[in-house]
Symmetry: C3
Subunit: 680 residues, 3 copies
Amino acid sequence: MKQVPFAADRIHFGGDYNPEQWPREVWDEDMRLMRESGVSIVSLGIFGWAQVEPRPGEYDFAWVDDVMDRLAGAEVAVSLATMTASPPPWMARLHPETLPVREDGTVLHPGARQHYCPSSPVYRRYAVALVERLAERYGDHPALALWHVGNEYGCHVSLSYSYAAEEGFRAWLRERYGDLDALNDAWSTAFWSQRYGDWEEVQPPRTAPTFPNPAQQLDFRRYSSDALLACYAAEVEVLRRVTPQVPVTTNLLGVWKPVDYFRWAPQLDVVSHDSYPDPNDPETHVRVAFAYDLMRSIGDGAPWLLMEQAPSAVNWRRRNAPKRDGQMRLWSYQAIAHGADAIMYFQWRQSRGGAEKFHSAMVPHAGTDTRVHRAVRELGRELDGLAELAGTRTAADVAVMLDWSSWWALELESHPSADLLQMEAVHEHYLPLWEANVACDVVSPGGDLGRYRLVVVPNLYLLSGADAARLDRFVRDGGHVIVSFFSGIVDEADRVHLGGYPAPLCETLGISVEEHWPLDDGEEVALELGDERGTGTLWSEHVRLEGAEAVAVFGSGELAGRPAVTRHGRGRGVATYVATRPERPLMASILARACADAGVAPVHLSLPPGVEATRRRGDDGREYLFLLNHGRGTAEVALAPGADDLLGGRVDDGTLLLEERGVAIVREQGSATTAQGRPR
Amino acid sequence: MKQVPFAADRIHFGGDYNPEQWPREVWDEDMRLMRESGVSIVSLGIFGWAQVEPRPGEYDFAWVDDVMDRLAGAEVAVSLATMTASPPPWMARLHPETLPVREDGTVLHPGARQHYCPSSPVYRRYAVALVERLAERYGDHPALALWHVGNEYGCHVSLSYSYAAEEGFRAWLRERYGDLDALNDAWSTAFWSQRYGDWEEVQPPRTAPTFPNPAQQLDFRRYSSDALLACYAAEVEVLRRVTPQVPVTTNLLGVWKPVDYFRWAPQLDVVSHDSYPDPNDPETHVRVAFAYDLMRSIGDGAPWLLMEQAPSAVNWRRRNAPKRDGQMRLWSYQAIAHGADAIMYFQWRQSRGGAEKFHSAMVPHAGTDTRVHRAVRELGRELDGLAELAGTRTAADVAVMLDWSSWWALELESHPSADLLQMEAVHEHYLPLWEANVACDVVSPGGDLGRYRLVVVPNLYLLSGADAARLDRFVRDGGHVIVSFFSGIVDEADRVHLGGYPAPLCETLGISVEEHWPLDDGEEVALELGDERGTGTLWSEHVRLEGAEAVAVFGSGELAGRPAVTRHGRGRGVATYVATRPERPLMASILARACADAGVAPVHLSLPPGVEATRRRGDDGREYLFLLNHGRGTAEVALAPGADDLLGGRVDDGTLLLEERGVAIVREQGSATTAQGRPR
Amino acid sequence: MKQVPFAADRIHFGGDYNPEQWPREVWDEDMRLMRESGVSIVSLGIFGWAQVEPRPGEYDFAWVDDVMDRLAGAEVAVSLATMTASPPPWMARLHPETLPVREDGTVLHPGARQHYCPSSPVYRRYAVALVERLAERYGDHPALALWHVGNEYGCHVSLSYSYAAEEGFRAWLRERYGDLDALNDAWSTAFWSQRYGDWEEVQPPRTAPTFPNPAQQLDFRRYSSDALLACYAAEVEVLRRVTPQVPVTTNLLGVWKPVDYFRWAPQLDVVSHDSYPDPNDPETHVRVAFAYDLMRSIGDGAPWLLMEQAPSAVNWRRRNAPKRDGQMRLWSYQAIAHGADAIMYFQWRQSRGGAEKFHSAMVPHAGTDTRVHRAVRELGRELDGLAELAGTRTAADVAVMLDWSSWWALELESHPSADLLQMEAVHEHYLPLWEANVACDVVSPGGDLGRYRLVVVPNLYLLSGADAARLDRFVRDGGHVIVSFFSGIVDEADRVHLGGYPAPLCETLGISVEEHWPLDDGEEVALELGDERGTGTLWSEHVRLEGAEAVAVFGSGELAGRPAVTRHGRGRGVATYVATRPERPLMASILARACADAGVAPVHLSLPPGVEATRRRGDDGREYLFLLNHGRGTAEVALAPGADDLLGGRVDDGTLLLEERGVAIVREQGSATTAQGRPR
């Protein structure tokens, strides 16, 4: 992966800028206000296509020229959009075959955005032609800092069942399988009389009388993610050719099921991320922490850009709460604490009309003398003084394993339980680690496990034999793993690994599962973990010990007395298996023991509940401890003597007072005593 | 508005008559039973099209002739349907393009009713041809009293996305906007790359990848309401030409979102209304009271016709409770109390087959020796003695403001909260007024405000600058208004009025709202209104006082201490603003204070809970006080000495005993002491 | 009905065998394991079409030949599928018009199974051609014991609205009604302007603006059931012609709304049934008991085949619980106890891939050293010793009346209450009988009532005059009936029987219902039944006594004091009417009284709760008492001295100890003292 560090000289600040919605007199004010607010970069033209190409092949860049020049004059860098996120209305009229189609045949019409089928060659042709023009025209413009390709790929349309998609899917399958026999084998078409005799018979998994073939569905998920990637790549190909000096990115949606971001990483010069925590969700900061760790990991640890967040409320949930006083600042620093080098918003000026007019903006409807604008401006100025953080990185001894294919396959129908949701499983594993302030990366099954002491594998349903073997080798070489139930069940084609679950991991784990016992809605099973008592929900199963010891047993139900959590010494490592969804205190105990076994230390010890700690480190050994108070009330944090808060917090007698929603960034000297400090 | 008073010489009584479902021997019995039941008018032929035009252009009116003659003979007047509510099956076969189409492309087929796209020129052509025949044939028939055009316009199909609708929508938009630039501006198409370059690109808001353009949706609502009105108008044009002497009407559905009845009023000679209170809803009588006030207001205060109600149960809810003993009579008089001059039912004789066979009728399946038929017959005879009520009118000092465009716009997606429903807002404002027996009209923003002392504006999201100015003038001239939150937010094209909400009303209200704080599901905020304590739900917001005083403040949450209800003296009037949804006792206090300030008196003082009072007045100054006991148990009502109940209730020592579900109509002398009596 | 007893020499044991999913080396193991497990029969090739006809008209039977020969060698009989349950992918490609279509026009695509429109002549032509080949090839094969035609007809696609269905429906209607006038009359098309002038106007009840014509819907249900039957019959015609010596069957789904099994019975040589009780449903064993009684009754009492059950969990519910230890054995014997002569499973070997890979199988993923396989093998061996049960039959004095047309009509829209569900009504009547161990048959309104002492009629909404007369004659001749509310309301065309409900049964019941009073969700009404007090839900109604006596009255609500349950002596019989849904203890009392009146005795007296008893009897007078403990803990059952449990249970001092989930089969001498023993 070619990782061009993005302008790593400051923490950037800015937002989406859509001047086409406003008359020119507003543009003058915009330039002035941007300067006053510390804006260093804007994303320009994301929905500009209809304005620059009002009729097919007829371009009008005058307004872009004007805005680019003004921004250059105001010393604001531009992340220039390729403008292809939403085609102009003429495309649907002239080429209705470019429209996306739902699985039941419903055509999605223009009137909103993203009304293109990602497989459409016509759409791609028009998009690439536009990008060529943009690259040629603005490649050397002094304001241009970055290309913003498309926008939020797959946000509204990730699966399209059009004829173009059918053609594209077939071509992709031919490439993947070579011949029909291989496809028939992979898709288990001997089942339900589905054997194909001709490529032309193969279709996307359109609405069918009952559960469509799961392998077909899984491959269509893969294809659809790749089709979006191909749209992105087609534009990038032009940009790399015409403007090789300009880095490219596109804004990723974080924990986003439709698109396999591990496959996108190689084609991004810098990772960008749009993040919209829900103020009404009391665990939203934990969920986004995981998303930030994922985004950082996608980029192999390099700093990333928080490309979009809301200054306050969004508009697209059922109930859109504003961010409370201090919350936007706190959550912005949380992104930096997890590796971001830019804080940006959607959008600069709140729209008067259209579907997002009630999405908050840096300049609200009510103007600049407002709570929201003041908070934005103050943060912009504050970040201006934190250039030293830029380019520093976060290290982790623990990785959570995530795989998009497995996620897709897990959530298909006709499984033992429809309640198994990948991100709920991840959250239940990640939350206790977050509460313990243990730094985490996210790793794919094919990633470099050797960097970690402990790998956590939540419900990794699909696991190839090769990846299982890598995990086994990791353990034998001294690594620790925690694997939770219904992992390692099927291969890449959703075919069960035979011989007792999870067959390719049985030796690693020292167990074998004979039968799944999913729990009913609301059903609980008692758990006994040493002296601890608690309950499990969602799942149980019939585990046979084959080398492992039981560290917890089921305490009720048909499986009473049988193993619920097992631990297996394997080579120089240890493999733990969790056969249910333990309630949170038990899960925390299980993870704490695994961390202790693996020699994993938290970022900071003995923090009050709700205080998050992360650390970033520069090449030169300087370290920054981030402390973020997500809890209620003021928190006291013990610090080493002489610690210094970049944000000006008072540290008396080795104690930092962190008010509610408060943040501190403590400059430290590198130390070999923390886990992250160990040599690699 | 040309308002032909409909045969204002009695309280009419009758119902829908569908003799085509029965053999002729039943017709004889029908005539006899109608006479015995006091039937004075029937609606005939509403679903007669397939029977009078069995093949296109081939008419057979013999059975209509027969029935018309029989009815004339029985001295029953006829409200003759134009029979166009549901086309015969041949139309769908010969002209499938006349079928309605849902936003996702689903075609609605024949087999039920109303299977026509209101925009279809083919449907309209056939309809008008039929109406011409009917008008020519029956214009001079002695039984003909009224034309009943179509039926319940828009009941099942109000939005159709057919090709005809697309064409019609475009033509309507050209008429509204003149050129594409104006449309692009109104629809804010600079947002999301939606700019149109050619009229042919403009479509109805069909299913799209995400929220379709809200202004496009709003205009399509307007267009669709107008398309139904155009169907109605096309028939009326024929009728006015051929039978200028016969008044025309169509039955309106009351509180009915799809159709803007304020725009229909000018084309109705008399307002007709179908009313179906739900006996399982304990507040159903309050909801219909509002609907009756709306229907009366639509017709500018003229008497209206209760064209349809159920004698007992309906058939189309999930659970269809019968009307309890006395309930049908009580609710019939409630309609009269709110200005109706006719009590009619769907339908005369309960159908044996079809989709409405379990809808109760004046003659039930079980025959005439039944609770239901007895109640009908007794009411028919009773109404026969109340001719003196006919033509009297109700006056009100208070008006509730309602606007269909605002209703449509309010309930579009991507708002701060999806829980804002226009009719819930109206109900929460109307209910305390009803409980206080304050007479209300319903007024549109463009209506004559000068008639009222107090105007209540519940959640009027869309408000043009011009209408806001009219409201301000009303206040400056001495009027009182209560405006509740999220009013005055956008203009006619759903574009935000910039500069602090509600910009065009800020001066009127003496406040400015900086930010909305919608509440989560189940979330409450404390309210402090003088000494009263309570809670608000649904909404809160950041209000800044700019001239107004805070009469209530938020008592908890992020906005604690900030204004929740404000009051602003403006010119000679007062403007109150309510920034949350107060619980009912608080709302009652707020409204009571506003009424007191405005000098609004209830219709009758000190009534027991559940007793409703209204008043109708004749040109000659005679007045009738209606008292309706919707509560539990017998109520005692204090009356002026010498009062006289037209229905024969006993008044002893100035006290009227009103039994549960009882009604009294007290004849009074006009008096200058009641609010309604003040000179205009 | 030609009822060929199926190989009545043993209790058969086996399952679906799908060797095409496995390599040949597995086939060898299969033969060995089948022998060890006591397998006597397998269903072969159910989804084999794509493998035997890879391209249209090109057949490849080699693998079937091989498997048939191996099975013959292993002495395993074959129920050979006609393989037409799911067409190969080529059919959809070459003949897209064969695909099923939903009422809203959505086409159902291949990728799952059963993607054919039952009305498609093209599908039928291909199916019949394949069956001809199979019959010719395997008619004389020594392994062939039975034809398994299609599979689970209508499981996923029972209603298709394709053009072929439209054509087929019209032809069926012409056959049923002769001319359009008759259809217009039956469908009550005078209502809502639906009168047809040409057959070409008649369509299936596609998505319409509101409730489609109920008679049209009802006839389309009938037609659709008949279309599936025609598919079956077309194949059977070939089989009877080519292989007259081989019995034919198809697996019925039990309590299955889409298909009228009473109409299939004449074309089945033996009834087969697929049964999937839900271990998470605490009353699942009662529901399947009714289904088993239905399946036995469909076959006129002959032994039937449990063609499919799951060895443990299924895969298609939201949460798929395994069968607990002993549960599969208990439920298998329950089928035998209700008349089954075969216990078979889906499927032999658990699939690796496809949509049912998590459906348990006789040979699980984890192999043969598993709880599930052990249970299967033990049962197979046990059944091997119970040949004497084969061919014995069960008799009943009570019948529950069920009619598919009535079921369909009851659950159409626009009824007094949408909460009336046929199978809930049946369950509430059947459960108390089951708890009392009263043997029941299921009878259609046209069935032979004379066999029974008591006929229970739960909510039989549709009842023809002729069937009502038969019921009346049954009572007059000494029979007892219990009829519950909303029965006898409409005729075959869903037209109300006029003159007070239920008009054709009023004389029989000695009552007349004037008006329905459905209860609201959660609403209860008090009931007084002699000294018993309780409540009713769902429904109440205004009953007038016209000869009957009130044995229970409503104790609250508008109907307080009016009859709730009535009893009427009529001729030599007694008719009871139940005007509400009594809570269970009251319902048990009502049924107990009716049984006592009718002289109906339980199969066994004084059983502990949860213990089910049934009896089978041979032609030679030998009897077998089945005792099944569905309750918690060990149950003690008093038996006649000298009783002998075929399954080896201990009987001490006339007491049998039946452990939890335990079964006993007690061999008895025929006795005239039990109800079932009375001479016919």
